[in-house]
Structure formats: structure tokens, C-alpha cells
Symmetry: C7
Subunit: 246 residues, 7 copies
């Protein structure tokens, strides 16, 4: 379908085009494609969410930019797309996880939190007076079912992945992951896979300044964000293994 037909349907909020598509939702996905690259990986041992960080100007404090968020002890998340929108949904997820602990006195299943966020996203695609959220999100966690990894789309759809990427250079990362992903990695190997994937696309060095990585492993079930020196250590190992084009 050419552009002119799309033009006829994109102005009215959240209505169907004759071929059953909702352009506003698809355009929201374009906002995701313009975002910084974010990746998720889950293996037998751990669920990881990692994101590139860019230095827009030398006066920006990229260390203070948070891209990886702890949703609950056992869940982390990130997003690609419009920062303002993403922050709203991250806050919503944190609140819902807290409420779940409050009401049931146990950690929320990762899919439960993912679903609640997607219910909000869906509502913003069906009602007038609002626009869809311009973000895709990755939720990584460990719960009763083991490691979990979900990617949510602006439409409110989510799918379970072994590994995935969203944002501007996600195609490069996915290509890399399709070649290199293995399920049976231990936590360190999993983290090194994530770092290797990001290292191929970040725009500066040292790598630890240009990526943020969080993970939760099946033993601890505690989400934590890697310290810069931890990233550096893995980078050095990868370098020794000849896995980085430095």
C-alpha cells in the first residue's frame, strides 16, 4: 500500500483502515524504532535486560541516565521509544508489583505485571482522546516458572522470547542473537552474550559508559544492575576471547 492511502487514515485516532490495521499503533511502533537499542535475553540461568546509552553532547551526564529499572526484587525492565511515555509505564509497573506484594504477600508473576502494563497500552489504542504509548518494553525476571522474558508492543500485545531487541539498531542485534544465542548458558556466559550483542552497536568507549545491564538469576531471584567495573571485567574477558572488535 502506498503512502496516499495511509494518509487518509492516520489522522483519526485509533480507527481501522480498510485492511484492518490501526495506523496510529503502527506509527507508535516507529517511535520505538527511533529509540535507543534495548535487548532482552533469558537462558536457563538468568534473565537479562540491557540497553545502549548515548552521549548526545559532551555536557550530558550519561551516567545519570537510567535505562534499566528494577520493577520488583525479581523483575527488571527497560523500554525503547519515547522517554516520557516509558517512564509513566515503568512507574505503573512498579506500583502494580508493590500492590501485588501488599495484597498477596508474594512476588507477582512476571507475566502478570506484563499483562497489566499491556492492558493499559491496549486501552490507549481503542479510545479516542488519547494516543497510543510510543514505547515497547522488555520485562525480564525469574518466578515460579523459571526465567521469563516478555516484550510488549504499543498495541498491547506481548510475546515470550528467548532473546529479542527493540529500538534503532535492533535488527543488527537480533541477527547477532539468532546466530549466537544458546539456552544452556550460565549467568556469566549470559551476561557476556548480552555485552557482546550491545558492543556491536554502541557508539563510544569505554563500553561500560555506553551500556546499562540488569539481570536476575534463578538462584538469587534478585534483580541487580551491573556496576561499571563488572561490565569492564566481562569486556576484558570477551576481548581476550577475541569476541570483540575493539
Amino acid at each position: 500500500m502506498g503512502f496516499s492511502m495511509a494518509a487518509a487514515y492516520d489522522r483519526a485516532i485509533t480507527i481501522f483502515s480498510p485492511d484492518g490495521r490501526i495506523y496510529q499503533v503502527e506509527y507508535a511502533f516507529e517511535a520505538v524504532r527511533r529509540g535507543w537499542t534495548t535487548i532482552g535475553i533469558r537462558t536457563k540461568s538468568a534473565s537479562i535486560v540491557a540497553a545502549e546509552k548515548r552521549k548526545i553532547t559532551q555536557l550530558i551526564d550519561e551516567k545519570a541516565i537510567q535505562k534499566i529499572f528494577k520493577i520488583d526484587d525479581h523483575i527488571g525492565a527497560s523500554y525503547a521509544g519515547m522517554a516520557g511515555d516509558g517512564r509513566i509505564l515503568i512507574s505503573y509497573a512498579i506500583n502494580q508489583a508493590l500492590l501485588h506484594r501488599f495484597y498477596y504477600d508474594e512476588p507477582a508473576p512476571v507475566e502478570y505485571i506484563t499483562k497489566l502494563v499491556c492492558d493499559v497500552k491496549q486501552a490507549y489504542t481503542q479510545h479516542a482522546g488519547v494516543r497510543p504509548f510510543g514505547v515497547a518494553m522488555i520485562f525480564a525476571g525469574v518466578d515460579e516458572k523459571g526465567t521469563q522474558l516478555f516484550m510488549t508492543e504499543p498495541s498491547g500485545r506481548y510475546l515470550s522470547y528467548y532473546a529479542t531487541a527493540i529500538g534503532e539498531k535492533s535488527n543488527n542485534v537480533i541477527e547477532f542473537l539468532e546466530k549466537n544465542y544458546k539456552y544452556d548458558l550460565d549467568t556469566s556466559e549470559s551476561l557476556k552474550l548480552a555485552i557482546q550483542a550491545l558492543a556491536g552497536i554502541v557508539e563510544g568507549k569505554p563500553f561500560e559508559d555506553y551500556m546499562e545491564i540488569g539481570y536476575v538469576d534463578v538462584e538469587s531471584r534478585r534483580f541487580r544492575i551491573l556496576m561499571p567495573n563488572e561490565i569492564r571485567k566481562y569486556v576484558e574477558e570477551l576481548d581476550k576471547e577475541g569476541k570483540l572488535k575493539m
Copy 2:
């Protein structure tokens, strides 16, 4: 009617065209036609709902994708179309079935739940500020009236079927069912008919990874989802019977 006239009516939400059609509802049905194929079959012995599953990339965990949902002990359902929309209506059906048990202390008739979902769908076709739901749903169950199978359309209309299919390859499946459907099948034969129907259109193997099947039989009146090895067993039987093009 050509395209240009349709263009004049598709932008305003839920109004009639001069020939008495509501284009937004028809376009919503296009979203259904773009969905993964879902089928329903009811025989003397059982009501079945089954759906194809696709592997979008090798990194997706198609086993974690849920297409068949238990609405209540005696009812299952699936949908074709927009995943975000479908999930909302599945949740609504589950809640209404629960409320029925709470208020009346007995399982809800299958048509009652179907009707409640369709009332919501209808409202979203008549009021401004919303768009119709972009999903068709199949409800399969057993109640006082025996096996039941309803398919709901985006307009809020539902009809009773012996067998039907919705989604991208529904025409192929319906053609198959029109030739092979029989009412007097027992539960195993019914399930094998469903598997055979899906096997003709799924895009990968082993079949148990690419289809999800739920059923409720008249004896147990309990909806359950087939385990992969159960599907595999039926596939092997069908293969021996020469009913699968492997």
C-alpha cells in the same frame, strides 16, 4: 462498490453508509482475517477450540504463547485478530463466569457468557470515542444443553456452529471441515479431526509446537488443554491412518 465511496465513510466512527453498512465494523473483521487461524468443532461428544501458533523468529518462545484460554471449568475460548483486544475480552469472560458462579452457585450457560461478551462488542460499534474490537472469538463448552460452540463477530453478532474457523487461513480449514465434519464422533475422533484440520495449515513441525488445543467432553464437563505429547500421539495415529501429508 468501489474504493472511493468507502473512503468517504470509513473515517467517522461507527456511522452507517448509504447502503446500511458500518465500515469500521467491517474493517475490524479484516483485522480478524489477518490473525492466526483458530478453529472450533463440536460433536456429540465434545467441544473443541484449537489454534495455530507461529514461530515469528527462532528466538520466540512459541510454547509460552497462549492462544487457548479456560474461561470456566466447562468453557474454553480462543480468538483471532488483535492480540491486545482479544486478551481484554478473554479476561472479561473469565470474570463474568466467576461472577455467575458467585451469584447463582452454578456454572454459567455457554451462550450466556457469549452473549455478555457480545454486548460489550456491540456497544463498541454504536458509541463514538471508541473503535470496535478487532477480534472474533470462539467459545466452546458443555452445559445443560450439551456441547456448545459459538463464534462472535466484531459487530456483536454470534452464531451457533458445528464447526468453524477464523483467521488468515480459515477458508482452507472451513473447506476441509465441510468435507470431513461428522456429528457422531467420539472425543478422540473429534480431537483428531481438529488436529488434522490444523495440520493442513500450520507452518512448522513438530506439529505439537505449532498448535494449541483445548476441549471439554460431555462426560467430564471439564475444559483442558492437550499436552504436547498428547497431540504427538494423535498426530502419529493420524499419520498411520494416512490422514496427514507429512
Copy 3:
């Protein structure tokens, strides 16, 4: 008036055209004209509402499709047009009849129920943010005034009829009724007239599978739906009388 002028007025909901018409209401009537044919007949002895049923595919269970509804002990109804819309108004009529019995401890006059439904229909033609209901309805009953038959239009107007038809083949049926209707029929003769009228337009056999007929007579004042074998008996009588083209 040609099409182009209509085009200028049909998009805005429920406003007048320069010649004092409301196009959305007229287009809603087109939805009625696309519906399955439904007829109403009242004679000295009984009020009847009857509808054709179609077999869209051989997999549909046309016996489970309900076209004739009991509104109260003494009133039945049917509709032609959009099924989702019709179901909403049928439910509304049933509830209002129940409330009337609850408040006044006596059956509601047929016109009273008709009027309440039409008040809802009218409101949906005068306020923005909604579209008119795309159904015409026939209410048939017996009350203090004797046999009653009303047909309601999407505009909220209703009229009293001796006999009428709505839906796709209503013109053929009305032509037949204008030639054959008599007021002084007994209940059996009235039912046979309805069957004969429908037999001329239904699309399959045996007739009892393709029509649904409800009636209320002045003696019992109780609305009931004919069993298939009852229809078959009348069909056989009509056949013997040479009144059916078999």
C-alpha cells in the same frame, strides 16, 4: 436528489439535510433491508411473529439461531437488521416487561413496551456520539385491547399493522399478504398464512429448518414458539391444499 448531495450530509451524525431528512436514520433502515425477512400478522384470533432462517454454511447450526423472542408471557418479538443491535433491544424490552409486572402486578400493554423501545431508538437519532439502531422490530401480543401488532422503525416511529414484513424479501411477502390477508382467521389459519408467506421466500427445505414462528392467541394469551413438527404438520396441510410450490 442525486448522490452527491447526500454525501454532504451523511457523515455528521443525526443532523438534518436541507430537505428535512436525517440520512443516518435512513441509512440505518438500509441495514434493516439487508436483514433476514421477518413478518408479523394479527388476526381476530392471534398475533404472530415469524422469521426466515438461513443456512450460511452447512456447518452452522441454524436450529440454535434464535430469531423469535418471548418478551413476556403475552408478547413475542423479532427484528430484522443488525443482529448485535437487535439483541440489545430485545433484552431491553424483556427487562421493561418484567419491571412493569413488578411495579403494577399485571402484564404490560403491548403498545407500552413498543413505545419504551422506540423512546430509546429516538434518543439514538437525536444525540451525537451514537448511531441509530440498525434494526426494525415487530412486537406481537394480546392484551386488553385484543390482538396487537406493532412495527418499530430505526427513527423511533412505530405503527400498528394487520400484517407487515421487514428485511430483505419483505416486498415479496407484503405483496403476498396484501392479496391473502383476512382478519377473520382462526389461530390455525393464521399460522398457516404466516407459514405460506415465509415458504415463498425461504431458501431451503425442510421448511421447519428454515423458519421460526411464535404466536399468542386470544384464549391463552400465552406466547409460544412452534415446534418443528408443528410447522411440518401445517406445511403438510398447506401442501395438500395446493398452497405451496414444493
Copy 4:
């Protein structure tokens, strides 16, 4: 002003055109002009409201079609235009007259009821999200001030008349009334004037089947609707007097 300029102003609800007109209100009056003819006459002795009735098909029960409504013991009313709209305002008038009796324990002045109905009509011409009512109404009654006759327009304006007509053939009737109206008629003469006026425009015979006439005289102050045989008697008298073209 030609058509093209009107076209620019008729779509937005209830806004002024550059020459200070509100087209939606004027178009609503067109709906009145398409309605069945309704007349009002008041003389020294009585206030009369009368309406033509048409037989759309031979299957319609024109006797059951009500065009003249009792608003209160001392007030009758009719309308021309959209039947659904008219019914709503008739119900409103009846309720307000009842409330007036309830609160003040005396019959409401005819102008008071007329004014309340016109307040509703005016509001529907000034606020967005609604369309004007497509009816003109005639209120005829007797109160402390003697015989009363008001005609209300879709704009919410009303005027006091000695005699007037609305609807499709109102011009013919008004022409007749301008020639034949006299204030000093007694009740019988007044009724015969109304019948003579209608007889010139109704489309069938016997006349009593094609007209409905209500009146209230200054002695009884009670509104009543003529029985068919009463109309017939007046028709016969008029015929003898050579005043009807039979």
C-alpha cells in the same frame, strides 16, 4: 442566497450563518413540512386540534394510529413532522401538566405547558451534540383566559393563533381558513369548520377513517376526541349544506 452558501453552514450543529440564521433549525422545519397535515382552530366556543391520517398500505391499521393526544383534562395537542420526536415532546407535556396539578392543585395554563415544551426545543437549538426537534406542535385548550391555541416551531418560538395548520398540505388549509374562519362560531360550527378544512386535503374515504379530531369547549373545559360516528354525522351535515366536494 443560493445553495452553495447554505452548504457551508449546515453541517456544524446550531451555529449562525453570516446572515444570522441557524440552518439546522430551518431544515428541521422542512421535516415539519413533510409531515401529515395538522390543524388548530379556536373560536369563542372551543379550541380544536385535528389531523389527517393516511393509509400507507392496506395492511396498516390506521384506526390505531394516534395523532391527537390529551395532555390534560383541558388541553389537547398534535404535531406534524418526525413521529419519534413528536412522541417524546407529547410525553413531556403530559408529565409537566401532571406535575403542575400535583404541585399547585389546579390545571396548568395552556401557555405555561406550551412554554415548557418550547424551552426544551430552544435548548436543542443552542447546544452541540444534539439536533433540533423535527416537529411543530399545536396546543389547544381552554383555561382562565378562555380558548387558547398555540403553535410551536422547532426553534422554540411559539405564537398564538385563531387558526393555523402545519405539515405537508398546510398551505391549502391555511388558505381555506383565511377565507372561512369566523371567531363567533359555536362548538358544532367550529368542529364542522375543522372537518371541512381537513376534508379538502385527506386522501381517502370515508372521511372518519382519515381524520382525527379533538376539542375542548368553554363549558366543559374537557378535552375529548370525536368518535368516528360523530365525525360522520358532521360530514353528512356538511354534505347536505353543499360544503363538501364528495
Copy 5:
């Protein structure tokens, strides 16, 4: 500015044009200019509001048409423009005057009532979903400050006048008043000035049937409407004085 530019701004309700005008308000003033002529005069001795009355057809009862309204004992008012709109604002003014007496136990200042009406008018020019009121009003009264005369515009602006006129022939009347107005007239002279002004523009005779005149003088501070014979008396005096073209 030509017409085409105005066309671009008149459809959206109550927004500014590039030259800072609100066309809807100006168009509402056109509705005033189409109204029957209404005049206001205040002198040392009295405040007068007077209006022409027209006989649209010979069947109309122009004596029953009220154009001059008592707002409170000491205030009268009239309007030119849309009758339905005017009636609403007259009722509002009467209610507010009543409330003022109720709360403060003294008559409301004339400007206070004028201001309240203008607050409503202003609100209808600034908010979407409504149109401005299509009436200009004249309030005439006597209060602590002496004789008072205000004319309110559709914009919500009001000004104090010695004499003014609104409606179709207001220019003729204003021209007459600019030549003949004097402040130091007594009440009879003031009333004769008003009658003389109206006599120049009314369309029928006797004059008392075609004008309605109310006044309040500084002695009585009581608003009253002239009886037809009072008007006739003044007309005869004016005629003797050679001031009427009869």
C-alpha cells in the same frame, strides 16, 4: 475584508479570526438585525421599552404575542432577535431579580440584572458546544440612581443609553431619536416620543394593535404596560399635534 476570508472562520465556534473578531458573535448580531424593532428611551421622568408587533397572517392573534416583559416591579425588558433565545434570557432575568429580593429584601439595581444576563451571554461566546444567544435586549427601569436604560449585545457587552433601538428598522428609529430626543420630558411626553418613534415604522393600523409599550416612572417606580386605549389616546394627541403621518 471580503467574504471568502470570513468563510474560513465562521464554522468553528467562538474562535478568533486573525483580526481579533469572533464571527459567530457578529453573525448572532445579524439575527438581532432580522428581529422586530424594539426601542428604549429614558428621560428625566421615566424609562420606556417599546416594541413593534407584526401580523404575520390574519389568523394570528397579535394581541396575545408578548414582546414587553416585567422583570421586577421596577424593571421592564424586551428583546430583538430569536424569540426562543429571548424567552430564555427573560426568564433568567426574572428569576435573578426574584432571588435578589429574596436574599437582600430590596429591589435589584437595574445594572445588576443587566450584568447577570450579560455574564451568561459572554459565557456562550467563549465555550465550545454552544452558540451565542441571538438576541439583543433592552432593560429599562428606575432605581436608586434614577432612570436606567441598558442595551445588551450578543457578545455580553452592555452600554448605557438615553435612547436606542434594535431590530430590523432600528436605523430609522435611531435617526428619528437623534433628532427628537430630549432628556427633560415628563412621563407623558416620553411615552408620546416612543409612540411617535414606533409609528414611523409599524406596518398596520390601528397603531395600538401593532405596538406594545411598557414604562416605569420615577414617582411610582412600578413598571406597567400601556393598555390599547392608552396608546390610542396618545396617538390621537400626537395626531392633533400633527406629529403622525396618518
Copy 6:
């Protein structure tokens, strides 16, 4: 930027144009520029607000037209632009000043009142369904900080001035003030400067009929409006000083 681009942005209420402007706000300023000229001056000794008054016709009572308003004992204000809008904001300011005294038992700072009015103005530029206020206002007062003078724009912005003017001839007045303004004037000199400024642009004589002047000095902190004879006295002094072109 030419006109055609502006045309594309001026219809939708309160949205940004590509160059970051909000045309509706700028057009509202045009309404200010069409208003009667209003000036504000503050010196060491006093804050003054003054306005021209025009005689639209000889029948208008320009003495009764109020352009200068007391907001509180120590604050006066005026506006240029749409009279209906201005009156609403003047009332709002008076109410807020009263509330401040009620809650805090001390006079409100002049900037506090200015700010509250501007908060309302800002809200009317950011929300749909309303238009901006078509007035600029000048607040003049004396508070703890000394003499104060603020001018508020339709956007909700306000600035502190030594002297300023708004309305049709504001450019002439500002030019005059830029040449003649001095901070160290006493109250009489300040008032004479204001009169001299207005005298250059008013359209009739005697000057006291065509201007209204209010001031508050640092000694009394009480806002009062000059009597006509006070203005006349200053005019005579200015005339003697050769400062008026008579």
C-alpha cells in the same frame, strides 16, 4: 510568514504552529488592539490607570460607561479588548482580592492578584473547548513593595512596567510616554502626565467626558477615581502650561 500558512493553523483551538506560536492567542491580541486605549503609569508617588471613553452615538450615556474598576482598596484596573471578557476577569480579580483579605486579614499584593488572573488566562490558552480571553489588563496599585504596575496579555504572561498602553492608539501613547515619562513625579504631576497622554488621542471634548482616570498614591494606599471636575482642573493647568493642543 505569509497569510496562507497562518490560515492552516488558526482554526484548531490552542495548538502550536510549526514555528512554536499559538495563533489563537495572537489573534486574541488583535481584539486587544481593536479596543479603546487604556494606559498605566507608575511613579515614585502613585500608580495610575486611565482609559479613553468614546461617544458611539449622541444617544449613548458615556458617563455611565465604566472603564476603570476598583479591585480592592489599594488596587485599580482597566482592560482593553472585548468588553464582555474584561468584565468577567475584573469580577474574578475583585473576588480573589476579597478572599485574600478574608483568609489573611491583609491586602493582597498587587502581583498576587495579577498572577491569579493570568493563571485563568493561561488555562484558556491550553485547553480545548474554550477560546483565550480577548483582553489585556492593567493592574495599578500600591503595596509593601511600593507602587506597582502590571500589564497582562491574553497568553497569561504579565510584565512589570513604569508606563504602558494597550488598545487601538497605544502606539501613539507609548511614543509619548517614552519621551515624557519620569519616575520622580509627585501624584499631581503623575496624573497630569496621564491626562496629557490621553488628551492626545481622545476624540471629543470636554476632555473630562472622554476619559476616566483612577489612581492610588503611596500615602493613602487608597484607589480612587477622579471626578470630572478634578480632571477639568488638571486639564486647565496643562492648558496654561501649554501642554495641550486644544
Copy 7:
């Protein structure tokens, strides 16, 4: 992308363009670019926010124009863009900081306040009926984490900076800062850097009349605004050091 495509998307509030952008948000940033230049700097020792002030006419009191606001004891802020919008968000930030002290009895983290303001900004980009805020804001403070500096965009995004500038001449200032910024400055050096940055772009002298500077240092954690003579002293030092082009 050229202009014509943008034109198609800029009128509807807050919807996505096909490339995933929201034009209204980008146009709001143009309003920021039209604003007076505002800068933020944080070093080891202090967080500074500073803004240029312009003298629009000689009659304006630029000393009374406030550009730098104290949000709480330890936080200051400024904005560039639409003054009315900025004032609203400054008030909101002050209220939220106050509430934080009230609820938690401790100063709010700088990022917490920034985030709350951005949540409001984000909401105004996602809902219809409002426009985005046309301001960017700089929050400068010191909290448990040390010096803090955030810049918020109209989209609701915020980033942490070492130094940044917004408004009309921000590019010049950023260029200067990229060359001259050092983290290890003491408070005086930091303030002199800010003054030097502003001195390059302000439009008048003496500099202290054309800039406003606020800072909070790590020792006091108290935000204060420099007195004109303090600015003058730094200016003189900078001049002696040859760092100002005077």
C-alpha cells in the same frame, strides 16, 4: 521530510506521524527556541541556573521580571519558552516540594521534583483537548547525591547535564560551554563561568541588569539569587581577567 507532509499531521493534537513523531511536541519545542536564553551549570561545588533578561521597551521594569525561581531551599529553576506556561509549572514544582517536606519531613531529591513536573508534561502530550506545555525547564539543586542539574523537554523527557542551555541563543552558549566547562571549579569559578556564558549573548549593559543568576552550593545546600552588586563584582573580575569582550 518537507513541509507539506508535516502540514498533514500538525493539526490533530498529539497523534503520531508515520515516522513516529508527534509534531505538536516538536512545535512546542520551537516555542522554547523562541524564548529568552536560560542556562544551567553544575560543578563539583555548585548547581547554577541563570537567565538573560531583555528590555523590550525603556518603559519596562526589567528588574521586576523574575526568571529564576526558588523551588525549595535546595532547588532553583528557570524556564525558556511561553511565560504563562512556565509560571504554571514553577508553581506546581513549588507545591510538590512543599508537600514532600510535609509528608516526609525532609527535602525532596532534585530528580523527584523534576520527574513530577515531567509526568504532567507527558500527560499533556498524550491526551486530546490540551496542548503540550511550550516550555523547557532547568532544575538545579544539591541533594544527597551532590550537585544535580536536569533539563526537561516539552515531551516530558528529562536528562542529566553538566551544563546546558535552552532558548533563542542556546546554541552559542552551548558552544561556549563545551569549550570552557570544567567539573572541578569552586563556587565562585562556577558562577563566573555562568556569567561569562551569558555575557556573550545578553543585549545590554550593565550586565547585572540583563541577567538573573541563582545557585546552590554543596556546603550550604541553600538556593539563593545573586544581588546585582554580586554580579557586578564577578563581571569586574572577569573583565580584569580579560574574559569579557566589553
